[in-house]
Structure formats: C-alpha cells, structure tokens
C-alpha cells in the first residue's frame, strides 16, 4: 500500500453488517447525531449468516486494516438462526487466522441491535483506535505482492 510517510495513518476498516439490526443501529447513531471515527465503512447484507469468510479475506486483500462483523443479538435474528451460523463460522475462521498468524485484534465480531446506536458508535471508535495503534496491515498486503510475484 502506498502511503505518504508524513501523513497520519488512517486505517481502513470494513464492516459487514446485517440489514435488520446493525445497519439500522448505525442509522440510529446517525439520526441521534453521535460522533464517531470515520474509518469504518459498511457493507450491508441481509444477514450475518450470508457472510462468507472470503469476504473478510477479500477485504484484507483489498487493503483493509481491520474488519468488523456485526449482526443481531443471539435469539434476535430476523431469519431465526443466521447469526448463530455466523458465530460458528467466525469461531472457525478465527482459529484458522490465528494459526496463519493474523493478529486477531484486527477482526471484531459484535452484536449490535437496531436500538443500539450508542453501542455501534462505541464499537467503531474502539476498533478504529485499536487498528490505528496496530498500524497498517502490511504483513497481509505484502502477501498479495508476493503472490503477484509468484504468479505474474
């Protein structure tokens, strides 16, 4: 990633959220005019159960420094069980990524309901701050360059 050295590091964080709870929760943070860090950008999905772990890998590959996955609280899934599948899938993915050596502080799984605008703002601030401290995810980005070298 090309970065001007005299510039402040601005982390890129991608959030995969479900449309029923967290997306609406983020809307509520907006209508309540809660101020939070601008580094998190949302991709809306019908349900966290829709999230393929490849999305997360893809996000890193495309230059993200951190990822948030957030959906409805247990028992609140609009589709009854999607968030449980997401949680299990995420657990497995967590293991795999730790094994590969990814710093798991870059990935945050959360439950944010449609009523939790405040929680969303806090989550964004917390993850932004953490990823800012961790710095750019150069290890992963370098992998891409290596892969390109291997398969030109």
């Amino acid at each position: 990633m090309s970065m001007n050295m005299n510039m402040k590091f601005e982390p890129k964080i991608m959030a995969f959220v479900c449309q029923w709870c967290t997306y609406t929760g983020a809307d509520l943070a907006g209508t309540s005019r809660m101020q939070y860090s601008p580094y998190v950008k949302i991709i809306k999905l019908p349900c966290t159960g829709r999230i393929d772990v490849q999305f997360i890998v893809k996000a890193f590959e495309e230059g993200a420094d951190g990822v948030i996955v957030s959906g409805c609280h247990p028992g609140d899934c609009h589709y009854t069980s999607g968030n449980y599948y997401a949680r299990r899938r995420f657990e497995m993915f967590h293991e795999l990524m730790s094994f590969v050596g990814v710093d798991m502080r870059r990935i945050q799984f959360a439950w944010v309901s449609a009523a939790e605008g405040r929680k969303w703002a806090e989550l964004v601030n917390e993850v932004s701050k953490r990823v800012e401290e961790l710095g750019p995810f150069n290890v992963f980005h370098a992998l891409r360059e290596q892969a390109n070298e291997l398969n030109p």
């Binding site: 090309s2 907006g30 601008p38 991709i43 159960g49 893809k58 609009h78």
Partner: protein, 673 residues
C-alpha cells in the same frame, strides 16, 4: 461498458454541511463507466427526482447510484421513480452518506473522503446488479385454523364471515378448548359456557367452515398462499353421518371408571363418550384404549343398542388433503399438573388440586354440579389456600415467565369460593398481584374488600397432611414477607395456580409447519411489537395462548387480528414480494445439501437431473422462491459456490469491497484539489 449515473443529494444542509457534495460529484465523474454525476439540493423532491428520471432516459443509463439518506428512508421512492423512467428498479442502489456519514462526522475533509468511498463502493456494486422482478405468487383463498379453543373458533368465524373458506382442525373430539370447562370468567363473572357454546354452534353451522374434530395435522408442505396440508382424521369408531347423537351408547357402555379429560380427572366417563353435553360435534367417540371390545375382543354393547347402526369398530384413521393459503396456529395451552409439585403434596393428596380442576368443581356443569366439595371425602372445604405463581417465575421449575392469567383467576376463585361457601376462609399466597387490564384491578380489590379474601404476600414452603379430629387436613407452611414471620394455615383444600405452558405437541406442530418457537415452545411472533400475530414464516399466523400466556379477551383480540391478516393476504389473487431469493446453479451443485440443513424456511428441495432415457444423473438443490426469505445462509455454507443470492450476489459484494479500497489515493487527490 456500464452507463452509470450518480446523483448526490445535499439534503439541504444535512449532508452538505459536512460533506463537500460537489467534490463527491467530481470524484464520481472520473470513475470508469460513470456517464453522469450530479448533485442537487433536495434529490427526493419532485425536481430532484426529475433530474434522475431525465438522465435515465437521455443518458441511457443502465445503473443508478443515489447518494443520500438511509435506504430505509428513500430506496423505495427512487426505485419507483427509476421504474417510471423505464429502468429496472433493482438497478438502482442507495449510498448512505447521511446517517452513516454526514451526521456522524464533523471533520469536513474526512467526511467527504468517506462519502466518496461509500459512493464509489456503491458504484462498483451497481455494476453487477441484476435486472430483477418482484416475485408473484398465486394465492389460494382458503385458511386452516389449528386448534378449536376460543382463539381458533374466533379466528375461524372471522375469516369465514369475511367470505373465505376455513378448515378448522381440532385434536380432541369436540371444539371448545379450555374455555368450555371454565366456571365463570373474570372480570364480569359471566358463565363461560353461556358465552362460548353459541359460538361453537355457529362454527358447526357455518357453511364456510369445514370442521375436522378428533383430527391432527399430519404434514404441511408448500408456502404462503399455496400450502398442501395432510390432516389425519383419527378413527372415531362412529359414523358421524348416521349417528344421531342420542347418547344411548354412552348410557349403556359398561366401562364407566375412566377419568374424564374434560373434568380434569375429577369426574368419570365411559369408553364411548361425548366429552361434555354441549360438545360440537355432539357425536361420541370410542376410546380404544379402554373399550372392552378393543381390549378384550368382546362386549359390542354399543353396537347392539345403536338404533341407526352408526358404530364402526373397523374404522381406520383417514388422511385427507387440503389446499390452503394461510394457516392460523391457535393450539392454546395447558397447565402444569399437580404432580409437578411434590413439595405441595400434588399427586399425593387428592385435595391439592390445580386451578383448572377448581374451575370444574365450581362449574354448574361439573362433577359436583357446582357445589364445592373436597375430592377426597366430599366435605365442604371451610378453609381454602390458593397458591399463585405455582411454577411461574420459578427457574427451579424451568419457567422464567409470568403465566399472566393466574392473578386474575385466583381472585375469581377466591370470590366464587366465598359465594358458594359462606363464611369460608380463602387465603391467597402471592408474589405480586398483576392485574393490569380493563376493570381487572377493581376485580381483585373486590375479592379482597367485599369477599374478604385474605391475601398473604409470600411463598409457601410446603404442604403436608395432618389428621385433626378424624378429618384429614392440609397444613400449609409459608412465609408472610410483609410481616416477616412464618405462617401456618390448616386448610381443607389447596389450589395451585399452576403455570401455563404450551399444549403438548406445540413444538412438533411448529416443526411440521416450519415456524419458529421459543425455549418454552411458545410460538415466536415475527416482531414482538409490530407483528404480534404473524410468525416469521410467511402465511403462518398466531392466535391466543400458543404464543404466550393469554386470557380470553386477549386471545379473542389476537384471533381477530390474525383473521384480519389472513384476509389481507386473501384480498388479492396474487402476492408480490421482493426478488431477493437464493438461486442454485445446478451445474455446480453436487448435492451435498448443506443448504437444506441450514435453511430456516425449508425452501430447498431436491431436484433430480435426468438424461433423455430418464435415468437420474444427479440430485441437486432447488430453491422454492415462494418460501425463500433471502437470508443467504445457504450461500455462505455452499462449498461448491453453486448458490447465490439475487440482489446480494458474491460478485456484487466483492465488487463493493474493491470499491472501498481502489479509492485509497484517489479520494485524497480529489479532496486536496
């Protein structure tokens, strides 16, 4: 090459105060494939929409991004406008730069960069949007109501009076449910049967209602508007069409000591029986478990005495099929049996009874003709202790919830007791009195003030038997937490307001129908506040205590609400819904059916792929668009990448991810300019 138009809204100052919308428009103009990029003060206004509509036509757009408020706000508005301009509405996407950007950031430079990133990502996504069409599903305007208690009766009558056919399925030999067995109802103290039985008769007589009593739902397939239901008509051993309901069989049946379900075990019935005199249908049924002919092979007295020759020993269960458009689940409740409370002597002492048993004792049609007598020795109880919250709100009994109806019926019982046994003493142990409802609290006050019920706040630790002057009494030991002392009451009868729980088989039925239920097996509503009588499965509605403990007025209100929902559904011949459904690429699918396992809507079926000579080559998954709700669970689980979700395809998501980051230096350049 795509021809995308980007329309950015100022939202007055709401967006433009912190986002430099002009710069966003400039940035988007430079994106490959974007042919027009404009901003306007109020995009949602008529002139604003006109700008977009004209551009769709003049610039021959095949994709549109509107960057403004949350899609929950105006997605529909702009999609409708796009459709009016001749563009498939699903080729338009909203970039949320207000709720998710301008309103939550103060730094204009940062907010502008973020707005560019959001809009850019949406542009990348829209490149891969597919032309979709709302799905239309034909609707069979026939409803099935499961459960013939007051909720089911009300729902069936309302739907039928609305002009639609109704199939009412009741598990027991008669409709009526628990309400048929109640003595009097709170807060008016009118006789339960007097208000219920005319409605039962109305059901039987209604030309639009087909009643299957002594029948159960065997299976349900299909989806909203198009359910195929199989109903098992259990063998009654009586031909209901020739039976006149004269009752002679019941009179002559020699098997007379069977505990009557209707009398809550306090009365007896025969092996061939009508559950209660006002039963609908008023036709007997043979209880094969107790019938001498079925158990020992001889007797046949009922056949001999039957004038119209309606007895059919050889009758078998029959499966009937019905085509149904909507289902109302009104399966009701039951209460914990007395045996569930060994600490209170339930099951050990016959005079420890449940609230429903007390109803029968107090009912004029009950085993004692409404006279209050102890089940053990028939004596008049001079002192009765009522225990509310027996099991409710008691995690030790596995029940966290309040059963809701008990506070009221306990007050009613105390009152009825006082009316029947003058000078008797009624004690009520309670945790709190929850009497919220029209005229409810006044009712409880009446029980306390007029009818002198003695309310003791506290719980009972145990109940044991003690013989006093040759009479077996029940000693109730508990605490009065207001006085802070132990109390001991010598009573003649103990009535447990035992917890309400869903009917046996509620969960099994939910599984057949494919609708969710909670840990207590109450059916789950689609939304606790805004959609209380709908289930999460389209076309399945809920009424009465099957969803949560409820009293009669609430059950009736529920039933009418569910009936109204059914009629909304039936008001159209076809139903339109979002096209966000899963699709399966059968070339890629190798038939692991993981999708089938995760699908909460049973929308995945198996399709055989055959060659020309009809041999099955492979079996693949197929999505029923009528059932699919578009959660996307099947896509994430699919190993072959054979599933995809219309409107949220992998390609769209990957492209959106890329869209955020290709702007890494790009946004900065634009902002600096």
């Amino acid at each position: 090459m795509a021809r995308i138009g980007v329309f950015i809204c100022w939202c007055g100052e709401n967006i433009s105060r912190t986002v430099d919308v002009v710069k966003v428009a400039e940035a988007m103009a430079g994106v490959p494939g974007v042919v027009t990029s404009v901003e306007y003060k109020y995009m949602c206004s008529d002139p604003g929409q006109k700008i977009m509509k004209e551009s769709i036509k003049n610039d021959a757009l095949d994709g549109v991004v509107v960057a403004l408020c949350s899609p929950l706000m105006h997605e529909k508005t702009f999609r409708t406008a796009a459709e009016e301009a001749g563009l498939n509405p699903f080729l338009l996407e909203v970039a949320n730069i207000r709720e998710h950007c301008s309103w939550v950031h103060e730094n204009k430079e940062e907010a502008t960069k973020k707005a560019i990133a959001i809009t850019r990502s949406t542009v990348e996504r829209v490149r891969y949007n597919l032309q979709l069409k709302n799905i239309t599903v034909p609707i069979t305007a026939r409803a099935m109501v499961v459960g013939g208690g007051i909720a089911g009766i009300q729902a069936a009558l309302d739907i039928a009076n609305g002009g639609h056919e109704v199939v009412l399925v009741e598990r027991t030999p008669s409709i009526g449910g628990h309400m048929a067995g109640l003595s009097e109802t709170f807060p008016t103290l009118d006789c339960s049967q007097c208000i219920l039985t005319p409605r039962m008769v109305e059901v039987a007589r209604h030309p639009k209602i087909k009643l299957y009593s002594y029948a159960e739902v065997e299976s349900v397939s299909g989806f909203v508007g198009n359910f195929e239901v199989k109903i098992r008509k259990k063998a009654r051993s009586v031909d209901t069409s020739s039976c006149t309901g004269c009752g002679i069989c019941q009179e002559k049946c020699p098997q007379k000591n069977i505990a009557s379900e209707f009398e809550e075990g306090l009365g007896k019935r025969k092996a061939i029986y009508v559950p209660f005199p006002q039963a609908v249908p008023n036709k007997p049924v043979i209880d094969r478990k107790h019938c001498l002919y079925f158990t020992k092979g001889k007797c046949k007295i009922c056949e001999k005495v039957c004038g119209p020759k309606a007895i059919r020993y050889e009758q078998e269960d029959e499966i009937v099929e019905e085509r149904i458009g909507a289902i109302v689940l009104a399966t009701g409740y039951e209460t914990l049996p007395a045996t569930f409370f060994p600490e209170y002597g339930g099951g050990r002492y016959p005079d420890v009874i449940t609230g429903l048993q007390f109803e029968r004792l107090a009912s004029a049609s009950g085993p004692t003709s409404g006279e209050l007598k102890r089940p053990s020795d028939g004596r008049r109880p001079e002192t009765v202790v009522f225990l509310s919250c027996a099991g409710s709100r008691d995690l030790a009994k596995g029940i966290s919830y309040c059963s809701k109806i008990c506070c009221m019926y306990v007050a009613k019982h105390a009152m009825l007791y006082q009316h029947k046994v003058h000078g008797g003493k009624a004690y009520v142990f309670y945790m709190d009195v929850r009497a919220s409802g029209k005229n409810y609290d006044e009712f409880v006050r009446r029980a306390i003030e007029q009818d002198k019920a003695i309310y003791v706040r506290g719980r009972v630790a145990r109940v044991y038997e003690k013989e006093i002057e040759g009479v077996k009494k029940l000693v109730v030991k508990g605490a009065d937490t207001l006085l802070g002392e132990q109390v001991e009451i010598v009573a003649d009868m103990v009535v447990l307001a035992s917890a309400v729980k869903p009917s046996v088989g509620a969960a099994a039925l939910a599984q057949k129908v494919g609708t969710p239920y909670d840990q207590h097996h109450f059916y789950s509503e689609a939304h606790p506040k805004l959609r209380p009588v709908e289930s999460n499965t389209a076309g399945i509605f809920l009424a009465g205590a099957a969803q949560a403990p409820k009293d009669i007025p609430e059950s009736v209100a529920d039933a009418s609400a569910a009936a109204s929902k059914v009629q909304i559904l039936f008001s159209r011949k076809e139903m339109e819904r979002d096209p966000y459904v899963s699709m399966v690429n059968s070339d890629r699918c190798f038939g692991c059916f993981s999708c089938e396992a995760v699908c909460p809507y049973r929308a995945i079926s198996r399709k055989e792929i055959k060659n020309r000579s009809g041999e099955v080559l492979k079996v693949v998954a197929e999505v029923n668009a009528g059932l699919c709700q578009g959660c996307g669970g099947c896509i994430a689980i699919c190993r072959a990448k054979a599933c995809d979700l219309a409107g949220y395809t992998d390609q769209q998501i990957f492209s959106a991810i890329r869209g955020f980051n290709t702007t890494s230096t790009y946004e900065e350049e634009v902002v600096k300019k």
